[in-house]
C-alpha cells in the first residue's frame, strides 16, 4: 500500500518539472521525423530552396559590397566624378549627352577649392606588339590622374605635363595588357602599335586586381591631347571629369556650383533635366546599395513565395502525419498526455522540420555563394553575414509555427476514445 500512495503523491510533486518535458519534446519530435526520413526531407525542400537562395544572394551581395567599399576607400571623401548623362527622353530622340573640353576648362577656371582635376576619355581599341594583339581600354588623361584616382606606376614613370603639352606618343600600360601582348616585365622603351600609331611604353601601372569580375589592370593610358590628336578630331571628344576638392566639407557645395555652372553652359532651361551627373564615390557606392536593395527585395519576394509553398508542404505532411498517428495520439492521451502535450509535440515537429530545412538551406546557400565567388577572381570567399543566418533560421521557425499550428491543433483536439478506435 505504501508504494501506491507514495506513487500518487510523488507524481503530484513531479508535475512541475518542466525542464525534462521541454527537453523531451524536441527529442521525440526528432525521433518521429527520423522515422520518415525521406518524406521529412522532401517536405522541407521548399524551405531548403527558399533559404538557400536568399542566403546565396545576400552573401554574394555582401561580398560585392565589401569589395566595392575597399575599392572606393582609396578615393576618400574628397572625390567628385562628373560624367555625361543622357536623359531617357533625349536618348529616345537619338541624342547623346557629352562633356566637352570646354566644360573641363570652365570648371578649372571658374570653380575654386579644387586640388586636382583630370579629364578622362575612354575608347576601346586594339593594341599590338609584334604578332600579339589585344583589345583594351584606351584612356586619355592628364598627369593629375595619379592623384585623383590614387593610381601610380609600379615601373617607370607616369605621364608628365610636357608629354601632354607636346602630344608625345608615350603610354603607361596596365599589367594585364602588358602580359596580353607579351611584353617583358620591364617593357620601358618598347613601342606598341595603337590604332596604327606607334607609342612608346614609359611605365607599367601598379596591379589593382579586379572589381565586379573585371580586371582593373587592362588598359593603356595616354596623354589626353596625344589621344585627341590621334583621333584626328573627327569625333567630338567624350569626356569624364574627375576631381578632388581641398576641403571635404566643401565637397557638396562645390558639386552644386559645378551643376549650376554646367547647366548654364549647356543652355538648359529650368524644366530640362541635367545632361550630366556629378557624383561622389559614396554616391556610386550608394547607387550600388540601392541596386543591392532592389535585388534583395526581389529575392525576398521570391523566397517569400517559396517559403509559402514550403510551409504549405510542411502543413500537408503534418496533416497526413496527424491522421496516420491518430491512434498513437489516442494512446498518449489515455496515458495522460494533455492537449497541450500533443500540441507542443506536433508544433515542435513542424518547427524542427523547418529549422532543419533552414539549416540545410543555409549550408547550401553558403556553398552556392562560395562556388559563385570562386568563379570571380579576387572576390575572396564570402561567408553569410550572421544577421542573414539568423534571419534565415528565424523565418524557417516562423514558417514551422504558422503552418504547424493547424495540424497541431487538429491533433491536440482529437477525442481520445475516437482516436483509440482509429485503425
Amino acid at each position: 500500500m505504501r508504494g501506491l500512495r507514495g506513487g500518487l503523491h510523488g507524481a503530484a510533486a513531479r508535475f512541475p518539472d518542466r525542464l525534462s518535458t521541454l527537453l523531451e519534446i524536441p527529442r521525440s519530435a526528432v525521433a518521429s521525423l527520423a522515422a520518415h526520413g525521406l518524406r521529412s526531407f522532401l517536405t522541407t525542400l521548399g524551405v531548403v530552396i527558399g533559404v538557400a537562395s536568399v542566403v546565396a544572394v545576400i552573401t554574394l551581395l555582401n561580398g560585392l559590397r565589401s569589395s566595392i567599399t575597399s575599392q572606393f576607400a582609396g578615393l576618400g571623401g574628397t572625390t567628385l566624378a562628373i560624367s555625361p548623362h543622357t536623359p531617357l527622353k533625349e536618348a529616345l530622340a537619338g541624342r547623346r549627352a557629352r562633356l566637352a573640353p570646354a566644360d573641363l576648362e570652365l570648371i578649372t577656371s571658374r570653380i575654386e577649392g579644387i586640388t586636382h582635376i583630370t579629364p578622362l576619355t575612354l575608347a576601346h581599341d586594339e593594341v599590338r606588339h609584334g604578332s600579339r594583339a589585344t583589345v583594351t581600354q584606351i584612356r586619355g588623361t592628364t598627369p593629375t590622374y595619379q592623384d585623383v584616382y590614387d593610381a601610380f606606376p609600379g615601373i617607370g614613370r607616369f605621364l608628365t605635363p610636357a608629354d601632354d603639352a607636346k602630344r608625345r606618343r608615350v603610354c603607361v600600360i596596365g599589367d594585364e595588357t602588358r602580359r596580353a601582348i607579351g611584353l617583358p616585365d620591364d617593357p620601358r622603351g618598347t613601342y606598341i602599335a595603337l590604332a596604327d600609331e606607334w607609342c612608346k611604353v614609359i611605365g607599367v601601372m601598379e596591379r589593382r586586381g579586379q572589381l565586379f569580375g573585371t580586371s582593373q589592370d587592362d588598359h593603356v593610358v595616354l596623354p589626353y591631347h596625344t589621344l585627341r590628336s590621334m583621333a584626328g578630331h573627327q569625333e567630338p571628344p567624350d569626356l569624364r571629369i574627375q576631381l578632388t576638392v581641398t576641403d571635404p566639407a566643401e565637397r557638396s557645395a562645390i558639386a552644386a556650383r559645378i551643376e549650376t555652372l554646367l547647366r548654364r553652359a549647356h543652355g538648359l532651361g529650368p524644366d530640362d533635366e541635367d545632361d550630366f551627373r556629378v557624383q561622389t564615390a559614396e554616391e556610386i557606392a550608394d547607387a550600388f546599395d540601392q541596386l543591392a536593395a532592389t535585388v534583395t527585395a526581389f529575392v525576398a519576394g521570391m523566397v517569400g513565395i517559396s517559403l509559402l509553398v514550403g510551409g504549405v508542404g510542411v502543413m500537408n505532411v503534418m496533416l497526413v502525419s496527424v491522421t496516420e498517428r491518430t491512434r498513437e495520439i489516442g494512446i498518449c492521451k489515455a496515458l495522460g498526455a494533455t492537449n497541450r502535450h500533443v500540441l507542443q509535440q506536433f508544433l515542435a515537429e513542424a518547427v524542427i522540420l523547418c529549422l532543419l530545412g533552414g539549416l540545410v538551406g543555409l549550408l547550401v546557400g553558403a556553398g552556392v555563394a562560395a562556388f559563385v565567388a570562386s568563379l570571380i577572381p579576387d572576390f575572396g570567399t564570402p561567408l553569410p553575414p550572421p544577421w542573414a543566418a539568423g534571419l534565415a533560421m528565424g523565418f524557417s521557425a516562423l514558417v514551422g509555427i504558422v503552418f504547424g499550428v493547424l495540424p497541431a491543433l487538429r491533433a491536440a483536439n482529437l477525442d481520445p476514445i475516437e482516436a483509440l478506435r482509429h485503425e
Binding site: 501506491l4 522515422a35 489515455a334 496515458l335 495522460g336 498526455a337
Partner: protein, 229 residues
C-alpha cells in the same frame, strides 16, 4: 471511502441526429483493492462504462467520484492528469507505440508528468522486470509476440504505480498460454493492493475475480461477490 463511486450515471451518445442511451442510471461503488470483472454482451454499455471509469469521457448526467474527485467537473487537461496519476490502462490490442522500444513504451506515461529521463529509464526497466521482460527492453513491439506485447502494456500500466488498473479484454487477442500469464500478472497486481477492473466476455476470466458486475442494455443487472475459485 470508495475508490470508484458512481451515482445515477447516464451516458447518451448522439448518432446521426438521434441520441442513444449507452448507460441508463448506473450506480456502482468499488472499494480499494477490489478485483472486479465487468461482463456483458456487446452493446451492453461495457465500453462506455470503462471509458467513464477511465476518465476518457465524462457522464451526461449523474456523478462519478474517482478517489473523491468529481470527474464530471474536470476539464480535459485535469482529466489527463488524473488518468496519468491514478489509472493504468491495458487494452485488448495492446496499443503500444510502434516506433518505440519496449522500454520507451513503458516509460511513456512518465514523460507526461515530467519525470527526468534517467528516472524514467530506471523505473521502466523495473516495471519490465516485474512482467518478466527485462531482456526485451530494446525490442520494438513488432519484434515481440502478442503475449509479450501485452506484458509490456501491463508494465506500462504499472510504471506510474496507479491506484486503479483498467484492463479491457486484456486476453481477447491472446492464446491460452499467454492468457494464463497475463491473468497471473493481473492477479499479482491485485495482491499488491491495487484495484483491478477487467472487462471481459470470457466466463473463465470473470471467475478469477472476486466480484462480477454484469451489464445489460446500459444498466447493471447483476453484482455478485464471491471468493475466487
Amino acid at each position: 471511502m470508495a475508490l470508484i463511486a458512481m451515482r445515477d450515471v447516464h451516458k447518451r451518445h448522439t448518432l446521426g441526429g438521434g441520441t442513444i442511451a449507452a448507460l441508463a442510471g448506473v450506480r456502482l461503488s468499488i472499494a480499494r483493492n477490489e478485483y472486479v470483472a465487468i461482463v456483458g454482451s456487446s452493446g451492453s454499455g461495457k465500453s462506455t462504462l470503462l471509458n467513464l471509469i477511465g476518465c476518457l469521457d465524462t457522464p451526461t448526467s449523474g456523478t462519478y467520484l474517482l478517489d473523491g474527485v468529481d470527474v464530471g467537473a474536470l476539464d480535459g487537461s485535469r482529466l489527463a492528469r488524473l488518468r496519468n496519476e491514478t489509472i493504468g490502462f491495458v487494452f485488448q490490442s495492446f496499443h503500444l507505440l510502434p516506433r518505440m522500444s519496449a522500454r520507451d513504451n513503458v516509460a511513456q506515461p512518465l514523460v507526461f508528468r515530467g519525470t527526468p529521463r534517467g528516472d524514467r529509464r530506471r523505473r521502466a526497466a523495473e516495471a519490465l522486470a516485474r512482467v518478466g521482460l527485462a531482456d526485451r527492453a530494446q525490442h520494438l513491439p513488432m519484434q515481440l509476440s502478442g503475449g509479450q506485447r501485452q506484458r509490456v502494456a501491463i508494465a506500462r500500466a504499472l510504471v506510474t504505480e496507479p491506484a486503479l488498473v483498467l484492463a479491457d479484454e486484456p486476453t481477447g487477442n491472446l492464446d491460452s498460454e499467454s492468457t494464463h500469464r497475463v491473468m497471473a500478472l493481473l492477479d499479482g497486481i491485485h495482491r499488491e493492493g491495487r484495484t483491478v477492473l477487467v472487462v471481459t466476455h470470457e466466463a473463465e476470466i470473470a471467475r478469477r475475480c472476486e466480484r462480477k458486475v454484469e451489464l445489460l442494455d446500459g444498466s447493471i443487472v447483476d453484482d455478485a461477490r464471491r471468493r475466487p475459485a
